[in-house]
């Protein structure tokens, strides 16, 4: 499943990041590397962007970008 479909309070382990170019590099640099556990904390009031918790800190990304991140072992 992809990261944008995860409900707040749930999470999983990153399998692959399919975005391209500067965005992909940025996501990798921020620690969204395969094998990393992430949790979706919440959504912004207008439903987008979303707030993630990973590697002990909070990160905000847009839903369309989260749609290109695949998870395995999804769940709470």
């Amino acid at each position: 499943m992809t990261l944008d479909t995860v409900k707040p309070g749930e999470g999983g382990v990153i399998e692959a990041v399919y975005s391209e170019g500067a965005l992909r590099r940025r996501l990798l640099d921020m620690g969204l590397t395969p094998g990393t556990r992430v949790m979706v904390k919440k959504m912004a009031p207008m439903g987008d962007p979303i707030e993630l918790s990973l590697r002990g800190y909070l990160l905000s990304i847009r839903k369309e970008d989260a749609a290109k991140i695949n998870l395995r072992e999804a769940g709470a």
Partner: protein, 670 residues
């Protein structure tokens, strides 16, 4: 012996606080050559021969943002004697990611482990000695906000610089990545040395497919071919691509180090507190109303409760000083034209801009509270969806709102935007938010033409400004600023109480910046406008401004405004003087029409313009290029005259087109 140190670290790591603690107020702010990335430099407090350059807050050394490229280039080309790498101890994993890349630059380095106090207070620990051993770089625990550990840090940095002690290890890799890096390092070794690039750095960048490095190395086709083969081989064996492989290599190493050195039972007190605050501030329903209330409160405090009395006081002071100067010159028998130059030109021009100082200082006080506390990131988070529609990100929202108060601090506030494209677009769009200096113009026109619908006309104009901003955003997004927006991948830092020193220093820097502008560009502009207003073409000093150069230019320009319904030379001249300050539109019209009172001005205006023409005139003055102070700010933040002039032309062009439409529609309706 003089030293040069580079301060590098992630955003939100306390870098600016540390820089202030290291240098005190001995700072100069400038730009890195060729880009509008801020460069701060200062001398160490107790060691004046050593200067520190505060590099931009970054997360990596990728080639994709100006900030990251500036950092790479600075360290490689300027050869600092040591790098001070500040990292946030409460978020050590991600912070060390940049450290590993900095180590590859083969420059003496010390890690300043900031916010160690928070880690310890929450019952967690970081084994500092073990961490230093694993990384091969000295680590000094500090608390920049509490000014703890700074002396030890400076001592350590000086020692490392004196001994030219480079990072002891750079080999963070294992297996396939290790093989690839070492093979490539072997191939590029000589060319890298020739270009002054560190060997290991050149090799990893080549594997990552880093274009600037590839171009710099000038490899032969054969060498490129071999490298490509090595990298493809690595990708195949790992089942992943080159960029992911290297990011993974670094994070895997860091995870190993953290397992050995970091004991973490849970979040720190500050992180738990942040989560509670966020429950309210980014709440699904309350988030946006709370943000709007915060902005309203700031506006009320800045422009009304505190700002207005201060502004009046400063204005009175400037008037008194002007009075003293005038009396002095009269007593000394100075020529009338010179008196006029000093009093009506310089004192009035610089004075009217100077009276904005309290507002600028107050606004930046509140903005730096928002920024340093961590709330600004939440604003971006909450507002992003709206602004994305016009090709910007949530970060641009605050400067735009500030624009309703005054375009000058709004343009100055775009400094906080991390993307140059967003920054430039925001600078261009912000003046469409009708600023408070335009209020007297609303007053004048509505009193004369729409006394019963004054409120409606005003709200209509504000909305029109916002619509033009949105339209321009859409237009620019698909033309001039077509370039890909910088990805919106933003850290939400823990809320922290801003340090008083940082907030005060920030205010002081903005005030200094504004004052410098007032006494240079605005000083000159005031003289030029005065000359145009006070002399005829034969360079005769004229008492009646109707005979001045400006009035005759107004006469020449006037036909241009005829299609808009205000081809009168006095209206055209008022628009020209509006460039010095928007309030001047009103004062110029009263002077040129010879009106003795506001009531009389209304009557004369009614004979000069039709209601549709008045509406069109109002539209044009609301939208056209901002005043000289805002223009100067725009020039500084755009980094070039070309950019600032381009903005002004666009704004004036948009004003013309929209006023034309308004006139056309109004003539049918009114």
């Amino acid at each position: 012996m003089s030293y040069l140190f580079a301060l590098a670290g992630n955003q939100n790591s306390g870098k600016t606080t540390l820089f202030n603690a290291l240098t005190g107020s001995n700072q100069h702010v400038g730009n890195f050559p060729g880009v509008t990335v801020e460069k701060k430099e200062g001398q160490l407090k107790n060691y004046k021969e050593a200067s520190v350059v505060d590099l931009p807050g970054i997360y990596s050394l990728s080639p994709y943002t100006a900030e990251e490229v500036v950092t790479r280039d600075f360290i490689i080309q300027e050869h600092p004697d040591a790098i001070i790498n500040i990292i946030d101890a409460t978020n050590i994993e991600r912070n060390l990611y940049l450290s590993l890349q900095l180590m590859e630059l083969d420059t003496p380095m010390v890690i300043a482990l900031n916010m160690m106090d928070e880690v310890i207070a929450s019952g967690n620990t970081i084994e500092v000695k073990a961490l230093a051993e694993h990384l091969g770089v000295p680590v000094v625990p500090i608390s920049a906000a509490k000014n703890e550990g700074i002396t030890e840090l400076v001592h350590q940095v000086l020692e490392v610089a004196k001994a030219k002690q480079k990072p002891a290890r750079m080999d963070f890799c294992e297996g396939e990545v290790h093989v690839a890096i070492h093979s490539v390092a072997h191939i590029v070794e000589q060319k890298a040395a020739k270009q002054g690039l560190p060997r290991r750095y050149a090799a990893t960048k080549m594997i990552e497919g880093d274009e600037p490095t590839m171009a710099a190395l000038q490899l032969t086709d054969n060498e490129k071919h071999i490298i490509e083969h090595v990298v493809e081989n690595m990708e195949e064996k790992l089942g992943t691509d080159r960029e992911a492989a290297l990011a993974d290599m670094r994070y895997s190493f860091i995870e190993g180090v953290c397992r050995e050195c970091v004991v973490k039972h849970g979040d720190t007190k500050e992180q738990k507190r942040s989560e509670k605050i966020d429950h309210v501030l980014t709440h699904k329903v309350l988030g946006i109303p709370i943000f709007l209330c915060v902005m309203l409160l700031i506006f009320w405090l800045t422009f009304d409760l505190i700002g207005a009395p201060l502004q009046d006081l400063l204005g009175a002071g400037i008037d008194a000083l002007t009075g003293v100067i005038q009396t002095g010159m009269e007593a000394a028998g100075v020529q009338p034209w010179l008196q006029s130059l000093v009093v009506n030109g310089i004192c009035a021009g610089v004075g009217s801009v100077l009276s904005f100082l309290p507002i600028i200082v107050l606004l930046f006080f509140f903005l730096s509270l928002l920024e340093d506390s961590g709330y600004m990131a939440r604003v971006a988070f909450v507002m992003d969806k709206l602004l994305r529609k016009i090709g910007l990100s949530g970060r641009s929202f605050v400067p735009m709102l500030v624009g309703f108060g005054c375009s000058v601090p709004a343009i100055m506030a775009t400094r906080t935007l991390s993307s140059e494209r967003d920054r430039k677009m925001t600078i261009l769009l912000t003046p469409f938010m009708s600023c408070s200096a335009k209020l007297p113009i609303y007053g004048m026109i509505t009193a004369a033409f729409f006394p019963r619908h004054a409120g409606l006309v005003m709200i209509g104009m504000y909305v029109l400004g916002i619509l033009v901003m949105i339209g321009s955003g859409l237009l620019l997004k698909s033309t001039v600023y077509k370039g890909k927006p910088v990805p919106f991948v933003m850290e939400l830092p823990a809320y922290r109480l801003p340090s008083a020193r940082s907030v005060l220093l920030h205010m002081w820097q903005k005030a200094k910046d504004f004052l410098r502008k007032a006494f240079t560009i605005i000083f000159v502009a005031s003289i030029v406008i005065w000359v145009l207003q006070s002399f005829s073409w034969s360079l005769q000093y004229v008492e009646d401004s109707a005979q001045s150069i400006l009035a005759s230019i107004g006469g020449v320009v006037a036909p241009l405004f005829k299609p808009l319904g205000f081809g009168d030379w006095r209206a055209a001249t008022a628009i020209l003087t509006g460039f010095s300050a928007k309030e001047s539109v009103v004062s110029t019209l009263s002077v040129l029409t010879g009106a003795a009172s506001d009531g009389q001005l209304s009557v004369i205006l009614q004979s000069m313009l039709s209601p549709a023409g008045a509406l069109s005139f109002l539209t044009f003055t609301i939208l056209y290029m901002p005043c000289v102070a805002a223009f100067a700010a725009s020039k500084r933040e755009m980094g070039s005259w070309k950019g600032a002039i381009g903005n002004a032309l666009y704004q004036t062009g948009a004003a013309y087109v929209v006023a034309l439409v308004v006139y056309f529609v109004a003539r049918m309706v009114l």
